[in-house]
Amino acid sequence: MATEEHAAEGSTLVFHPMDQFIVKPLFGEGPVAWYTPTNATLWMGLAIVAVIALLVLSTSKRAIVPGRGQSIAEMAYGFVYKMVEDVTGKDGIKYFPYIMTLFMFIVCANFLGLIPGSFTTTSHIAVTAILGFGVFICVTILGFVKNGTHFLGLFWVSSAPLALRPILAIIELISYFVRPVSHSIRLAGNMMAGHAVLKVFAGFAQVAAIAPIAILGVTAIYGLELLVAFIQAYVFTILTCVYLKDALHPGH
């Protein structure tokens, strides 16, 4: 990425589509050590605050007839609960808090990232890779603990002809190990792409002739990004549920 002085000498259009993703220390300059509070820390903290406000503060009255905030909390609860129950079945319910944690973090981080000038934590591959590989490792360990070697039946498609099975096993194995990669890159890529496109359109607004179109485009893409922010959280969660189901019931 070009630094500021390079950008200043850009000829007509100046785009910094990737600048919004730079991790900076919150206080002062200097190297980013593993403990340094950065803007990523700030927005993750805000995600925690959002989760607490949404699920804890809004339900503090424990009203039988819910208010607006409590309705949202109950809707989120019911949404994820039903998803877990539908996809993984009854025995997946005990993993509901973990999946709810993932969902709430991703959805809050995605929506917070859409605030202009904010930092999108979920657009970073480091973050989503931890989420994705965390799910992958947990699910794999869980599969072996619950089913033992029977878990390997996931790769041995017993309904296929015997000659095809080794080939299918290799394909299944590859697709199994690609899962966390696609799982994490899908989220980060979607977030990054949307924000970069927004930034590019905002950059076009510097040219007076196309500024109205550019602003219209920014508005439209912002609406799309609101949808994408939710859908990606939903997709991440439901794929986690699907992987969990595979671990709990490996026999297709």
Partner: protein, 79 residues
């Protein structure tokens, strides 16, 4: 120096080619959603239970487009 220029040219051409993958993913997503809609109109009562499958299908189709986009980005900024 010419080699650097050629490398830069190749980078941009490659990024542009990789961006075609996004369009291909768009075709895929449209296919999934369109077929879902066609099926849902034939049997609306069964459609509500299949929205999860729809989103999973869209996510898989879209992930590949995102990979293409990522390749483009890597070519543009990281290589």
């Amino acid at each position: 120096m010419e080699l650097v220029a050629a490398a830069a040219l190749g980078k941009f051409i490659g990024a542009g080619l990789a961006a075609i993958g996004s369009g291909a993913a768009a075709i895929g997503v449209g296919h999934v959603a369109g077929n879902f809609l066609a099926g849902a109109l034939r049997n609306p009562s069964a459609a509500a239970g299949q929205t999860a499958t729809l989103f999973i299908g869209i996510a898989f189709a879209e992930a590949l487009g995102i990979f293409a986009f990522l390749v483009a980005l890597l070519l543009m900024f990281a290589v």
